[in-house]
């Protein structure tokens, strides 16, 4: 009591000694970017984390490389890496990416939403029906809003049932899946199209929805756009990191900021470069498809929402420890219900892109197992099924992996039997990755109360 300061020092030293006893474990528990003062330290921290099972995006990148090599070798005429197929791969992946970003809202809470495939399909079918010139002939912005509104309302109903009545999300959204599947088939039957409303025809509204997936941006404009995006993002990363470094806040070393910016620039150059190669067979066909900036816009919006707003912070807090969130004064029901609404809303965007890809809607839409692809994509990207951990970027990375597999099977003209089997195995692999990476790490996902 006489000298509390001195005693505190002793205590600190003892505590430091105890942590020093297991330096490897202590380092491995921490994300390297919060402790590293230099690039060397960062690399050592990263390696220690991989050894401890906390591998970040590394397995995704390795899986991607393996998939690309295998399919390039076995695809007919080695067509897999041709510019035409790569752009097609981006387009197919885009649907899964956006759907996986949708699913992230449920997964971060530790919930799941199985209905989003058909809820989104209903929304897209409503949009496609409303813009038909032969019937309602709505302008596309109104039709898109109506479709997305349907999704938000459906999500609100499911979210309310789950949060207010404390029902398991798995069962509620399974019921929602069946209801939405039925509604979807009903919506298709409206109008004089015998169940196949499509986007062919002379109407600006039809063209616009068709162009979401198939419209392209002029190569020069795409280069300028990419340069602007990379410069803005790079500038933001550089200035915010260096400001934090200067004021003594936790920040990555300058070299790491530069590597990050360089990586973004490389990805932009590769993607735009591939898209700007002529992929036409008879006529010149080049340019970045609209869908790529659309996916980037969704990614940017949801990254800001989850990472930099109160709402996002509360979502993670509830996923990590709902009781702590409740005691902090957070309104759990509102935040969780809104998450299911955002989930369905984003799914509406994803399935609208799918409608554009298919040039219309039909009862062939595989919305049921697209949901499973979306869950697998989010988990492969690094989102945890147990809640509390996940980012929109995970959905994009995982969506690219799933899209790469899906596209490869498509090129090999695998029958539906095999596609189902592969889908199931991919989902299983994703869950195994999640479980193994969680077991290996202390700081990963969290035991739920």
């Amino acid at each position: 009591m006489a000298d509390p300061l001195k005693r505190a020092e002793i205590t600190d030293n003892v505590a430091a000694d105890l942590t020093a006893a297991a330096p490897e474990a202590a380092v491995a528990e921490l994300p390297p970017e919060v402790v590293a003062q230099s690039l060397g330290e960062y690399v050592r921290g990263y390696v220690a984390r991989i050894r401890a099972g906390e591998s970040g995006v590394l397995p995704v990148v390795m899986a991607m490389v393996a998939i690309v090599v295998v399919f390039e070798v076995i695809s007919p005429n080695n067509v897999y890496l041709s510019p035409g197929n790569l752009v097609n791969l981006f387009q197919q992946s885009a649907v899964i990416m956006v759907l996986a970003m949708a699913e992230a809202f449920a997964l971060v809470l530790g919930e799941i939403d199985l209905s989003i495939g058909f809820v989104g399909a209903c929304g897209a079918a409503i949009t496609v029906q409303l813009i038909q010139p032969a019937t309602t002939n709505w302008p596309w912005p109104l039709a898109v809003l109506a479709g997305l509104l349907f999704c938000v309302v459906f999500g609100a109903i499911q979210g309310t049932l789950i949060t207010r009545l404390h029902l398991p999300s798995f069962i509620v959204t399974l019921a929602g899946y069946l209801v939405a599947n039925g509604l979807f088939l009903k919506i298709l039957l409206f109008g004089p199209f015998s169940g196949y409303p499509n986007l062919t025809g002379q109407s600006d509204n039809l063209h616009f929805i068709y162009n979401l997936m198939w419209g392209t941006i002029d190569p020069i404009v795409s280069w300028i756009g990419a340069a602007v995006v990379v410069a803005a993002l790079g500038g933001f990363i550089w200035f915010s990191d260096s400001r934090r470094r200067k004021s003594g806040l936790v920040a990555p070393p300058a070299s790491l900021s530069l590597i990050k910016i360089g990586l973004i620039a490389v990805v932009a150059i590769v993607v735009v470069g591939i898209c700007n190669l002529n992929r036409g067979v008879l006529i010149v066909q080049e340019g970045v498809p609209w869908v790529i900036p659309i996916v980037i816009a969704v990614l940017a919006a949801w990254t800001v929402l989850l990472g930099r707003t109160k709402y996002g912070r509360y979502l993670y807090a509830i996923g990590g420890n709902p009781e702590a969130a409740r005691r902090a004064g957070i309104n759990l029901s509102v935040v969780r219900t809104a998450a299911f609404m955002l989930c369905s809303f984003t799914a509406g965007i994803a399935l609208l892109l799918y409608a554009s890809y298919l040039n219309g809607m039909s009862n062939n839409v595989q919305a049921g197992y697209y949901v499973l692809y979306a869950v697998a994509a989010a988990v492969i990207g690094g989102t945890s099924l147990m809640g509390g951990r996940g980012k929109p970027l995970h959905g994009v990375l995982g969506g690219l992996v799933i899209g790469a597999i899906y596209n490869g099977m498509y090129l090999l003209a695998l029958s539906f039997e095999w596609q189902y089997i592969v889908t199931g195995l991919v989902l299983l692999a994703a869950i195994i990755i999640d479980a193994v990476s969680r077991r290996g790490s202390a700081s990963g996902s969290v035991t739920r109360i």
Partner: protein
Amino acid sequence: MTAAVAQAQAAGEPLLKIRGLDKHFGPVQALYHVDLDIPPRQVTALCGDNGAGKTVLTKCIAGIYPIDHGEIFWEGRPVHIHNARDSARLGIETVYQDLALADNLDIVQNMFLGRERLRSGLLDEDSMERSAAETLSSLRVTTVKSIRQPVASLSGGQRQSVAVAKAVMWNSKLVLMDEPTAALGVVQTRMVLDLIGRLRDKGLAVMVISHNLNDVFEVADNIAVLYLGRMAVQDKATNFDRQSVVEYMTTGGLGRSSGRPAKEG
């Protein structure tokens, strides 16, 4: 009892004064006419056996449970505490036994959970990180590697320190701590007891719930003992010894080693 109250008044107006507090849950009377004085700038230990009503009393002060009867005075003024926000507004913060930290969030995010600072609609991470770092260093919590590490990677004592730092960030005047050392090892317990001493040095009043008498005698200036929902005794810690506290905790009074009081509830 009256002696204790008179003595507390002689030492100046208590920060928190409770008179005649009753609380029941259905047919179970958890607290009967409890009186309690918490003086400012001192550590008060609330002792009692399991089921004596320590946690219920704490939750009544924190606004988690509404009280049935009784009066609460804060700095001499009568107040009504209906919910956790009321108590926070008065300057009462509670550190629960389970700490209520989200493991997946980092230290700064946990300390500001529910009270995030915004700048043009977005989270102001820089300002929050600076304030959190200041609070932690003022409490001499120096063993954490990085203020941005997830709470899951902290030791038990460090987690307790973060929970305490979270409680003192808000100009609080009284910190209630429910069994802060129950789950900790020797070194970590030392860390938390030192932390409680530092809170007192900063001018805060602390009420510690504990039935570890080693800890109680180490940090407490005052000791209050609950026995089966009644306040058995409250006095300066120097007027107790280990034996008398144990006797109050187990029998509700001195020299009553056999038999319990008539009314047990």
